[in-house]
Amino acid sequence: MTGSATTAIAGTRSGKPKFWKTNQRALAPWIFLAPGIAMFSLYVIYPIIASMWLSFYDWDGLGEKVWLGTQNYVELFDDDAFYTSLKNNIIWLALYMLAVPAGLFIALFLNQTVTGIRIYKSLFFFPFVISQVVVGLIFSWFYAPNFGLFYNLIEWITGTGVAVLADDRYVTYGIIAAGLWPQIAYCMILYLTGLNNVSPDQIEAARLDGARGWRMLWHVILPQLRPATFIAVVVTVIGALRSFDLVSIMTDGGPYGSSRVLSFYMFEQALSEYGFRMGYGAAIAVILFAIMMVFISGFIWKMIRDERGM
């Protein structure tokens, strides 16, 4: 008797709890998502659209925005510095991919169970934990004329040292080598985890069939490492196209702008002493974004396919 009385009271008190009771499963996800969507829209989605819009204007960051139409892009296609940056981005992308096989190689080397191997694994991983600023400074020292280990090594071998970071022929490669150091460590840890999960039965079966060495790696191990390879490729592509810190720390784009990449050139145009050309900078950013979208769409497409397959 009392039970039905309380429900009756609860029912008459107001419509709200009842509404909540019946609809909470439909409303709850949006309540949980609200802070995330709000922050992400404000700081990520809106800025992407605003940058695209801004790339059609001339703006110094303070005054009036002046509509230019496609003039920023037209200027860009006639800008040598833009082509230098684009070329360097392609070199970055191509050479950065070496991190994937190099990481696999080190992972295979370390995938043993001898005493102390855990410490070796974490020490090999070490460069990834350090800030790129510190990596940049470490390699600046490594390459420094007269002081640097690398400089002296080259001098000892060839007779004349090479000031890598002051030579426009080598500077980009020098910076990429610094970037590869942590990136290889990252790929290595992905592969070490992947190797841990390779099915031992299949390896044994393949061994009985006489598979060894490279053939074993190619036909039995690598197919099982596919998820690790996918993530390694994703983070390496993104890392290559995002390269900014090392260029800024090691050379500031120099000598004579020869080590610029798009991300750095954009920053230089929009926010440095060379002028606050926000619109022009935004146009460079849109180009970089378009290049990255090609890769991002590919990754997402594969992820959606996996999601559907689940």
């Binding site: 995330g36 800025p47 592969y191 950013a285």
Partner: protein
């Protein structure tokens, strides 16, 4: 196991492997070891041309000099002030949005999820001008709050991806049976799912801590003065002041690298679990 366990190979191979391990490690860490050694050299050694030899004595005074003659202590404090709120904010947001995307079936679920994923990969430069503008117009330019707010928002993309996939792996029957019992959705989140997310929260916190500590780009875009700059941006300006005083640059670098390195060694298991989520099936 692949490659073949070293214990099963011939004795010379085993010996070779035992020698190759430390040699490879030293070569791999050579730049770092060089910098560590340089940071302990008195400046007289460098002036006298002792570049690669051992220091004539261990000059810990370089470290004292860095602290005494530069604002590095302040930079480090700023780094903590940016990093810790970001970790808390981004992980808290991601727990909620990850839960929403993993547990509920509703329209736009996958669309929202992939927006978070895609946003996480975009180049920073496409965000730079509007984010800076937004921060200036809200009066948060050159403040720690302004920098931390952006980091929270941006990291919530990666964190949501991570949390959503983690919660997808939890047994869904737990939630189903709680619903049958009439437990409200908020209580399911708070009392059933959140306690199970503890390992994911730990892994994500360590990762985000490292990412934010090491951030350099946003620090240079959103902060300008020594009172607000974190240590990465600070190190850049100190490097400009310490031209060719490599013993100071080295000591400063090592100080700046310490917190994430300590974090990594203390929380190694969580760190690697976080980083490699998705590198294996399931």
């Amino acid at each position: 196991m692949f490659p073949i366990a070293i214990q099963k190979t011939s004795v010379p191979t085993q010996i070779l492997y035992k020698i190759a391990l430390p040699v490879a490690l030293i070569l791999w860490l050579l730049p770092l070891l060089g910098v560590a050694m340089t940071s302990l050299k008195p400046s007289s050694d460098l002036a006298a041309g002792n570049i690669f030899g051992l220091p004539s004595y261990l000059a810990f005074s370089n470290y004292a000099d860095v602290f005494r003659n530069s604002p590095i202590a302040g930079y480090i404090l700023n780094s903590f002030k940016v990093t810790i709120p970001t970790v808390i904010g981004a992980v808290a947001i991601a727990c909620m949005s990850g839960f929403a995307l993993a547990v509920y079936r509703f329209r736009f679920n996958l669309l929202i999820f992939f927006l978070f994923v895609a946003g996480n990969f975009v180049p920073f430069q496409i965000l730079m001008v509007p984010v800076r503008d937004l921060t200036v117009s809200t009066g948060l330019y050159n403040t720690i709050t302004g920098l931390a707010l952006f980091h929270i928002a941006f990291q919530s993309g990666f964190c949501t991806l991570f949390m959503r996939n983690f919660i997808k792996g939890l047994p869904f029957e737990l939630i189903e049976s709680a619903r049958v019992e009439g437990v409200s959705e908020f209580r399911i989140f708070w009392f059933i799912v959140l306690p199970l997310m503890r390992p994911a929260i730990a892994a994500l916190s360590v990762l985000v801590f490292t990412f934010i500590w090491n951030d350099y780009f946003w620090a240079t875009v959103l902060t300008t003065s020594a009172a607000t700059q974190p240590v990465t941006a600070g190190l850049y300006s100190l490097n400009g002041q310490w031209i060719a005083q490599w013993q100071l640059v080295s000591a400063g670098s090592i100080i700046a690298a310490m917190p994430p390195v300590l974090m990594f060694f203390l929380m190694q298991k969580h760190f690697i679990a976080g980083l490699t989520l998705g590198a294996t099936k399931g």
